[in-house]
Amino acid sequence: MAATGPAGAIWVHGESAPDGSLARISTEVATLARTLGEEAGCEVVGIVVGADPSAAAAELATYVPRVLAISEPATADHAAGTIVGQRLAALIDRDKPAYLFAGAGPEGRDVAGVVSALTGLGILVNATAVRWDDGPVVEMSVFGGKLNTTSRFAGEAGIVTVRPNVVSAEPASATGTVEPTDAPGELRLPQVEIVDRVEAATTAAPIEEARIIVSGGRGVGGPEGFKLVEEIAEALGGAVGATRAAVDAGWIPYAQQIGQTGKIVKPALYLALGISGAIQHKVGMQTAETIVAVNRDPDAPIADFADLVVIGDLFEVGPALLAALRARAG
């Protein structure tokens, strides 16, 4: 693929969090896109579509030189993915950027699916790294981490969804501009009304983006045991994760489940308490930078891929660890 003049623009989907601020994943995606744009010598533009896009757009402008803010009242009380996707697709048809980068979480996936369907742009999903070589060269981890692939687009345009924690977010040296913009066209697709928003009883931190995750499995024994997991997580400033066994038992909500049918995480530290390390769990956490496990069974599969394993009872090692962490914090 020979270079044909300056590359087309890279766009970043700026996802809004429920409170209207910029979702953390978007700060990472924006950092990645800016780095690629500097290398490619192309424009990098953030796009925020929301009922009141101003807060998220202002934050996105600290990462990229230019942000288009599209006010879309319908997203206040309608499921956002299809609406945002249509607006982005219409803007893409008009302005013809080369690439769209989005987060690989639920919101980004919904948006990417709609944009791809409406524009015909291909998608490289779940990027774990991206470099530039006349276009994005996207690294992915497939088959539950057994293989790393690199891929590119057949043409000179496409959509990339990026996993959390692939780059650390870093604001640009100068703040960019925010341009309130009208999106062309109509919203043709059916809208889905949000009739209620319910806050969960748990205040558990989201695990996808956490730098430290302390996870509990069947060995934790019950909701009581999860108190210990929570305390250790708190002492480490981390989030609480779980295996499907713990979720199925009703000890912790599904939102905290890690693995094949739960979430894929990539924290700096994964501390596994009473977790065997079954393949379906492993695929969700094995790309953690450091894995530490506490398990009383020296033959548990997790002992084969953890960096450090303590062979012992988590109800003895856990409280000792908690005490040591607290003593260290002073």
């Binding site: 249509q86 639920p106 369907a117 057994k146 690199t150 891929s151 059916p190 379906q280 450090l308 394993v309």
Partner: protein, 264 residues
């Protein structure tokens, strides 16, 4: 009520043997046994429970190679009434754009009140196909469902969509497309009776749907928008350090280890 579930056969992740073919980097489907994609089983289970409660039946729609009926029988054994397989030699190696267009076109030939899909596929799927299918067919799209409540009189469906802080209650007219999650409940195991009954259920095989054409030509590998360049095994993790000391000493060593790695 008729529910069509989008079901994809995928290599069994528990087999550990998944690989790409060395010549063209396409998934080597002959290397490992195929199973129903785990997330699609949650969609099937939810569909079966709803038709048991409200009447009606579950059909499945699959785009895959010619051996797919073997895997589809598992879904029929769970209780689905019938299946449609879209298969064509040119579809091997299809990308997301092709898959989405083919499924959307095939849906136009089916009757349904609801379409269910899984949250993503375990063979490298990006969880993007269902949103695209809904957009092309023009169906209301309700993703990440933890609960699904159809109201047949009002022809409406309510879904609890998992949100970052809890859940949103969504409401849409039927027909609609819903993405299932594990939170809907454990999939059933096929009973012996179910397995027997599955043998006589119909799987209709069709070729490329007529209006699945892409701007650039027919769907399938020849119009693929993406290409794999390289594959390699990830670098092996360093050897595991094992600590067998009493709790206090073990805890001290863990803290030292975390500090050494600058995690704390």
């Amino acid at each position: 009520m008729r529910i069509v579930v989008l079901v994809k056969p995928v290599p069994d992740t528990a087999s550990g043997g998944e690989r790409l073919r060395p010549d063209d980097f396409r998934l080597d489907r002959a290397a490992v046994p195929a199973v129903v994609n785990a997330n699609d089983e949650y969609a099937l289970e939810a569909a079966l429970k709803l038709t048991e409660a409200h009447g009606g039946e579950v059909a499945m729609l699959t785009m895959a190679g010619p051996t797919a009926p073997e895997t589809m029988r598992k879904a029929l054994a769970m209780g689905a009434a019938s299946g449609t397989l879209v298969t064509d030699d040119s579809l091997g190696g299809s990308d997301i754009v092709s898959t989405t267009r083919v499924l959307a076109a095939a849906l136009k030939d089916l009757e349904y009140d609801l379409v269910f899909a899984g949250a993503d596929t375990s063979d490298g799927g990006g969880g993007v196909v269902p949103a695209g299918v809904a957009a092309l067919v023009g169906l209301p799209y309700l993703s990440y469902a933890a609960r699904i409540e159809p109201n047949l009189e009002k022809r409406q469906v309510r879904v609890h969509r998992i949100s970052p802080t809890g859940y949103d209650v969504l409401e849409a007219p039927m027909p609609a497309l819903i993405v299932a999650t594990q939170a809907l409940g454990e999939p059933r195991y096929p009973s012996l009776k179910g397995i027997m009954a599955a043998r006589s259920k119909t799987i209709e095989t069709t070729g490329l749907p007529a209006d699945a054409a892409l701007d650039g030509g027919a769907p399938g590998r020849d119009s693929s928008t993406t290409a794999v360049l390289t594959t390699e095994a990830p670098p092996p993790r360093a050897a595991t350090r094992v600590i067998r000391d009493p709790a206090d000493e073990a805890a001290r060593q863990v803290v030292a280890f975390l500090a050494e790695r600058r995690i704390i």
